[in-house]
Structures are given as structure tokens and as C-alpha cells.
Symmetry: C2
DNA sequence: TTTTGACTTGACAAATTTTGACAAAAATAC
DNA sequence: GTATTTTTGTCAAAATTTGTCAAGTCAAAA
């Protein structure tokens, strides 16, 4: 699985479609300055925006969601030197939760 | 590494010290109702509260931080069926960031 | 059974963070 | 040069998180 940032993916998608910020932002009703910030990683999109963009570009939604949410987690773990361990424990907890959901 | 929730750890710590909510909340200047909610997992503490509590109980700060932040991540991943994959990608991104920090 | 003490609950207020909008600057293309 | 596209900065609205308080439950003591 890819480890690109959501903004990079979105910019690549837009460029491969040869579209302008203006066009995409009009297409999904989002401020163009905001879209610019999202593509450059200055802001993270909302989940709804990711969904709209995946549809707009006919892109794999899951791939974008993964990139987006992992970016969010990376932010939360920023300057935590325990990051690796925290992720391990998180994984265990998730697995545990999923087991009890059967 | 442990996979207990931060609230469980805090309640265990308080009980092993034979302390009342009232006493701990006075000791670290936090509303007792809030501490009650934290111990029962209804609320997550702030990082500062985790720090204060670890000092107050003379507990291993890292252990509490890990439990606390992993709880936060679990919340963010709640009802994401891509959770596992997201964690993997997050880990890769963190590793990548750490490498470039040398 | 009444009272007391420990804890919990719910509703709300305060504070913080996130998000969106807009104008204006900067960069790029023509 | 002008026109178009993108970026930047700021600010208010919206949403989320956090804190406070009063009233509640419950168990055990008196």
C-alpha cells in the first residue's frame, strides 16, 4: 500500500486530468484556496471532501481514505518519540475490539 | 507492552494507593466528576492531565502516555474498516519521517 | 430508616480547534 | 505588458473538546 500524503495524491489526480483548481473546486463546491492548501498539505480535507474528490476523479476511494486518515494519525503522533510503540498498542486494541464484535 | 485503556490504568493506580476520587482530584486540581469520567473511559484526559497523574502516582509516564494516545487513535479509527491498513501506512510514514530527521 | 460518604450522571458553559470564505499577493502563462 | 492560475494571510463561523456544577444513585453506618 502507498504511503503518499493525501495532498500529493490529489494534486497528481488533478494534474493527470489536466484540470485547474478552479474547475475542480467548482465541480465539488469547495473554495479554491482551500483546495490549494489541501493539495500542498497545509490543510487536511474533511472526510466528506475526500469522498467527493474520489468520486469526481473516479479514483479508488479506499486509497484516498487510507492516505488521508494516516496523515491525520501522523499529525497526532508528531513529536512523540513513542510513536512506534503507540501504533503497536493501537493495533492490538483494534484487533481486540474487532474480535469482540463477532 | 500493555493494551489497557488509560482509564483502567488510572483507576487501578488510584485503588492501589487507596485514594478517593476526591483526594486525587484535589491533589492535581481537576474536577472530581471529570476524573470519574476519565477513569470510566467516558472522557479522555489531556496530555497535561496524564502527566500530572503519572507524577502524582509515581507511575511510569511513558506507559500512561502510550495507553492514552493509543486510546485516542482507536477513537479516530472507530468504525473504519480500513483501520489495520491505515495503521500500517501510518507506521511507514512515521518511519520515513524519522529517517529524514537524522 | 435516616444519614453520610463516595461516586456518577447530565446539562450546560467556556475554551480550543477546525473549517470556510474572501481579498490580495505571487507566480505562471500568454 | 496583461490575463490567468495559484498561493497566502486573515478572520469569523462552526464544530469539537474540555471544564463546571447541581442533582442523582448506591451502599453502608449510625
Amino acid at each position: 500500500m502507498q504511503e503518499k500524503k493525501i495532498g500529493e495524491l490529489l494534486r497528481t489526480l488533478r494534474e493527470s486530468h489536466k484540470l485547474l483548481l478552479r474547475e475542480v473546486s467548482a465541480g465539488i463546491a469547495i473554495d479554491q484556496a482551500l483546495l490549494s492548501k489541501i493539495e500542498r498539505g497545509e490543510r487536511l480535507p474533511t472526510k466528506e471532501q475526500v469522498t467527493k474528490l474520489s468520486k469526481y476523479y473516479h479514483a479508488e476511494k479506499n486509497e484516498l481514505i487510507i492516505a488521508w486518515l494516516s496523515d491525520k494519525l501522523v499529525n497526532e503522533l508528531a513529536d512523540e518519540d513513542l510513536a512506534q510503540e503507540i501504533l503497536k498498542v493501537t493495533e492490538k486494541k483494534i484487533i481486540h475490539i474487532n474480535k469482540s464484535k463477532l
